[in-house]
């Protein structure tokens, strides 16, 4: 009996000794991967203070795929970085904004992709895996009020615990080590995809809907704009193109446009609305009803660069 208890104890001690280096290894490998829509690449740039941008682009996947920093640079001669994040979760976007300013010099301008869905979501845990490798090692992540309590105190403080049942991510990250090509370029993801026809198949059975804005998201949005203004950062709200057929399903799109106009007026900032632009009629610029492909993103970025040039001249 003594022998087995000693062995079990030794195995337990050895296991405890292993969890810290294993956590370090897994976190490192995941951070190097292009999983979670390439969010780790952006987080690494932020936390390693590698961003020196005059223009920062914020928003959801539409920000990530519609605004090409290279095109903006070609027209404006200003460095830009795209912080777009999959999922319209304003809290996560604000958290990223906060971390960006902590670790990097402030931008002059923030282009915030404020589309029909931006203020629709409640506080949620979508795409929370992007925070996984940082939780134990960076207290800003584990203690932020902007991140939903998807992970428990134990997850954030006991090494390895948060990786339980996450073997799939770890395995894919190890495989991804052989992939040397980054998913994002200055945060931007250009999809060289053609129209995928899913929308055409689905639209016959789709009903139109009303987007309800969340009051806490609205309050957060106002506070964030005020904070940026306080820091001397110019905020420009941009409603980027959405395919015209897709827009028709949003019943209250005029109301949403009016709301963003009122926000812009209230804070004396610009709201550029491209949802009625001719680009929205060109199916060849989209790969689905709500996202531009790389051809569309480049075309739109050129138009945008021209339009914001006078706004940021000083």
């Amino acid at each position: 009996m003594k022998k087995i208890l000693t062995k079990v104890l030794l195995l337990a001690i050895f296991s405890i000794a292993l969890i810290y280096p294993l956590d370090l290894l897994f976190s490192k490998v995941i951070k190097q991967s292009s999983l979670a829509f390439g969010e780790y690449e952006v987080w690494n740039d932020i936390l390693n203070s590698e961003i020196n941008a005059e223009i920062a682009i914020y928003g959801s996947s539409r920000a990530m795929m519609h605004f090409n920093p290279a095109i903006l640079f070609d027209s404006l001669y200003l460095n830009a970085y795209n912080f777009g994040m999959d999922g319209h979760n304003l809290w996560s976007q604000i958290f990223r904004h906060e971390q960006y300013l902590i670790h990097n010099p402030s931008p002059k301008v923030i282009i915030h992709s404020a589309d029909f869905f931006t203020l629709a979501s409640k506080f949620n845990g979508y795409n929370n895996e992007q925070f996984l490798p940082y939780l134990l090692w960076n207290k800003n992540f584990s203690q932020s009020a902007y991140l939903p309590m998807h992970y428990s105190w134990w997850d954030c403080n006991i090494p390895l615990l948060r990786y339980r049942n996450k073997g799939n991510i770890i395995l894919q990250s190890f495989i991804d080590l052989f992939n040397t090509k980054a998913l994002r370029t200055a945060g931007f993801v250009g999809r060289k995809w053609e129209w995928n026809k899913d929308f055409d198949k689905a639209k016959a059975n789709m009903n139109s809907y009303t987007i309800k804005m969340d009051s806490t998201a609205i309050d957060l949005f106002h506070a964030y704009i005020e904070e940026c203004q306080h820091k001397g950062i110019t905020v420009i709200l941009v409603n980027s193109p959405v395919y015209v057929e897709g827009q028709k399903f949003i019943d209250n799109r005029d109301e949403l446009r009016a709301f963003y106009n009122s926000v812009a007026d209230q804070h004396n900032i610009k709201y550029l609305d491209y949802s009625l632009h001719n680009i929205c009629n060109k199916r060849e610029y989209f790969y689905n009803a709500t996202h531009l492909n790389s051809r569309g993103a480049n075309a739109f970025s050129s138009i945008l660069a021209k339009d914001i040039k006078p706004l940021i001249a000083n």
């Binding site: 009996m1 022998k3 087995i4 062995k7 195995l11 296991s15 292993l18 294993l22 390895l160 990786y163 339980r164 049942n165 996450k166 073997g167 799939n168 770890i170 395995l171 894919q172």
Partner: protein, 485 residues
């Protein structure tokens, strides 16, 4: 209480410490501890059904005592049938009442007589089919004078309710397990270590293989019309590994746990997917149930002796009853009958005992012929599993129709797997890892039995790797499939 739960992870060490450090010197007290622990284990799920176990225990204990005093054949028969009646009565009521009622209603309506349904909302007590059969084996063996009846009620109650195998087997024979409660258990290091190994392997099979494969099988079985034949076939293969990982994993944990307490339970699975024909498969799959039916049903019916018609009848009876034991649904009956059809040609050609030893006994790899034999046997079991998994006959037929369509030969697309939390390649890799370890350990009672003679860095390396896989690749928690039986 589930083996793969935190509750059990706390429960087991507490019982272990009490068993070996507090009650070890007093056999009666140790047995009493097993009864109490087993009742807590079972009551964790629903304490109300403890009364069923207790009643069943009391009846069979008294029947045993009665049989020991009774020489009159008629009275002995009455006692035996009292035990059979009570046990099968409970089983019939809780498991089959609604099935028979619904079928009566359907039969009457077929002949134009509508009768108003009066089905009851009956909860099936977990493990009722297992402990009922276990306790029945006691009454039958005592009746046949193969076993001395016990006067020790605590030992008998511990035998009926022994928590490692209470809810999903192995279904133990009284002649094997009951005497182990009479003798003082001594702690054996090698036995306990092997028990821990078997628990580890059982957890891997349940948590890593079964629970991950379940996600795939569930998705494809839930909407077969949405997928091509090739994907549906893959779904059935995933289910084959789900049910194997789930049930054999449970058995491994049960046997391993029993070994920690100094008990030896019978082997329940012997690498069934390496079988070369269906007869071998049934000698290797759910051995405790197959042998129960063989000893208490097939042989009393005449077994494989007698005329051709008798052989066919007996084979069908044992397989159909075995199917019906699993659940009150026509799908289980068809599953049983299909297996009888698979088995019958071998029996009639006297080839049902061709493969008695492990495959490729003195070789590392199987021959091409053995690969072909294992492949065809596995394919046959996969098709039969469709009936086992389906909700009803219409569902099973729709699924099979989907498999045997022209789309069977199409290549599955990534889009068929998008809503799954685990990459199909990952699950396939895990299944390959399982198959390799099981193959190399096929000469042992369980796959990790092969580690005994390994050098310690390899041995502990493998243990840690398996433990890490259980931690990292645990699928979404699913209850054990066989709990519903």
């Amino acid at each position: 209480m589930l083996f793969n739960s935190l509750d059990f992870a706390i429960f087991l060490p507490i019982v272990f410490v009490l068993y070996w450090f507090v009650t070890a010197r007093n056999l009666k007290l140790q047995n009493l501890l097993i009864v109490v622990a087993s009742y807590v284990f079972y009551g964790w799920w629903d304490w109300r059904f403890l009364s069923l176990i207790l009643f069943s225990t009391l009846v069979d204990y008294l029947v045993g005592l009665g049989l020991s005093k009774q020489e009159n054949l008629l009275k002995r028969r009455v006692l035996l049938w009292t035990s059979i009646g009570v046990n099968l009565g409970f089983l019939g009521f809780f498991k089959y009442y609604n099935f028979f009622l619904d079928n009566f209603i359907e039969a009457f309506s077929f002949f134009g007589r509508d009768i108003s349904p009066n089905s009851l909302n009956i909860i099936l007590p977990v493990g009722i089919s297992f402990y009922t059969f276990q306790t029945l084996s006691y009454s039958i063996d005592v009746y046949k004078r193969k076993l001395e009846p016990t006067r020790d009620f605590v030992a008998f109650a511990a035998f009926v309710s022994f928590f490692p195998q209470l809810v999903a087997g192995p279904i133990e024979r009284a002649s094997n397990l009951l005497p182990q409660f009479y003798a003082r258990r001594t702690f054996e290091y090698s036995k306990a270590v092997d028990g821990l190994r078997q628990i580890l392997w059982g957890l891997f099979k349940k948590v890593v293989i079964a629970d991950n494969a379940a996600e795939f099988a569930n998705m494809f079985f839930n909407s077969p019309a949405d997928y091509p034949g090739s994907v549906l076939f893959l779904g059935a293969v995933f289910f084959a590994f789900q049910i194997y990982g789930d049930f054999s994993g449970y058995s491994d944990i049960a046997i391993g746990t029993a070994r920690l307490f100094g008990f030896s339970l019978m082997q329940n699975f012997a690498f069934p997917y390496f079988s070369r024909d269906m007869a071998e498969f049934w000698r290797r799959w759910h051995i405790s149930l197959s042998t129960w039916f063989r000893d208490y049903l097939y042989i009393p019916l005449g077994g494989s002796r007698g005329s051709l018609a008798l052989k066919v009848r007996n084979t069908f009876i044992i397989f159909v009853v075995s199917g019906f034991w699993h659940g009150a649904n026509w799908t289980f009956i068809v599953w049983g009958a299909l297996n009888a059809l698979y088995f019958l040609p071998l029996l009639l050609a006297r080839k049902n005992r061709t493969h008695l030893g492990p495959v490729a006994e003195n070789h590392i790899l199987p021959s091409l012929r053995e690969i072909w034999q294992m492949g065809t046997t596995f394919a046959l079991t996969v098709l039969a599993w469709v009936f086992f998994r389906a909700e009803d006959m219409a569902h099973a037929m729709a699924y099979l129709k989907g498999i045997f369509s022209t789309s069977l030969f199409t290549v599955p697309k990534g889009a068929h797997f998008v809503n799954l939390s685990t990459h199909p390649g990952t699950v396939a890799l895990l299944i390959v890892a399982l198959s390799i370890i099981e193959w190399s350990g096929r000469h042992h009672a369980h796959a990790l039995g092969q580690c005994t003679k390994w050098k310690w860095p390899y041995k502990y390396g493998l243990y840690y790797l398996i433990a890490l896989f259980i931690f990292l690749f645990g699928g979404q928690e699913q209850t054990f499939i066989y709990f519903q039986f």
